[in-house]
């Protein structure tokens, strides 16, 4: 199951989608919005998605997990729009007969979501905002339109 929604995410619902009696291990990742960036207080986040392509890339990631780990039971739920601090922006649930595959596949799904899925996050501060990029390696709020790193 994959979805992109502007409604609050429900970890129990997403996790239960992958549970089956043959699966002994379920690993769930929750990405939650942090309250600070380089000492600045973040007030809230705004997520924007290129929906058609994002859904397609999420489907690709699920297929990758099947090929790489033999894992079939994957659920990904991504939130868009305004998200308050401490709320969940991403849920990835993976189930497998054994824990090793479940842990590896869940971790890999999260990495891949952050690499290839066209969704963007804007942090809003008291005195400004910035589009987060590539795991915070790129922009700093003080630099404004600073250099981007090529490729992602």
């Amino acid at each position: 199951m994959i979805e992109i929604t502007d409604q609050p995410l429900d970890p129990a619902r997403v996790t239960n989608l992958v549970r089956r009696d043959g699966n002994g291990a379920v690993v769930t990742f929750l990405g939650t919005t942090r309250d600070h960036f380089e000492g600045k207080r973040v007030l809230r986040l705004e997520y924007e998605a290129y929906y058609d392509m994002a859904l397609k890339k999420l489907e690709e990631i699920c297929r990758e997990m099947q090929q790489e780990f033999g894992v079939e039971d994957v659920a990904i739920s991504h939130r868009t729009g305004l998200v308050d601090i401490g709320q969940i922006s991403l849920i990835v649930a993976v189930a497998a007969p054994h824990r090793k595959e479940a842990f590896y596949a869940c971790h890999k799904v999260v990495d891949r979501v952050k690499e290839i899925v066209p969704i963007w996050k804007k942090e809003v501060y008291e005195d400004g905002s910035r589009w987060v990029a590539c795991e915070d390696h790129e922009f700093s709020p003080s630099q404004g339109a600073a250099a981007e790193t090529p490729g992602h």
Binding site: Y50, I116, E148, P150, G151, H152
Partner: protein, 81 residues
């Protein structure tokens, strides 16, 4: 030919628009398109940064040839999750 381009997130804000219609010669590539975009919007991305382009909901190489009615989007560095 006319190519419709969509801008997202950082690029949308820097360009000041979410869509633009570009006139490109027939047989133009993704590289031709990003060159034209940079000409129109010099502040979109620094010269040393390559602008990533999606064509029909897949990442496209610079030598990809464009066609009218292609869905073309500029993809700033992603930051989902």
């Amino acid at each position: 030919m006319k190519i419709e381009v969509r801008f997202f997130a950082l690029y949308r804000e820097r360009a000041g628009c979410s869509r633009a219609s570009l006139d490109l010669p027939a047989g133009a590539t993704v590289a031709d398109l990003t060159a034209e975009v940079r000409r129109r919007h010099p502040g979109l991305a620094p010269p040393e940064v390559s602008i990533v382009v999606a064509v029909n909901t897949d990442y496209a190489e610079p030598d990809t040839v464009l066609n009218e009615r292609d869905e073309v989007c500029l993809i700033p560095p992603v930051s989902g999750g």
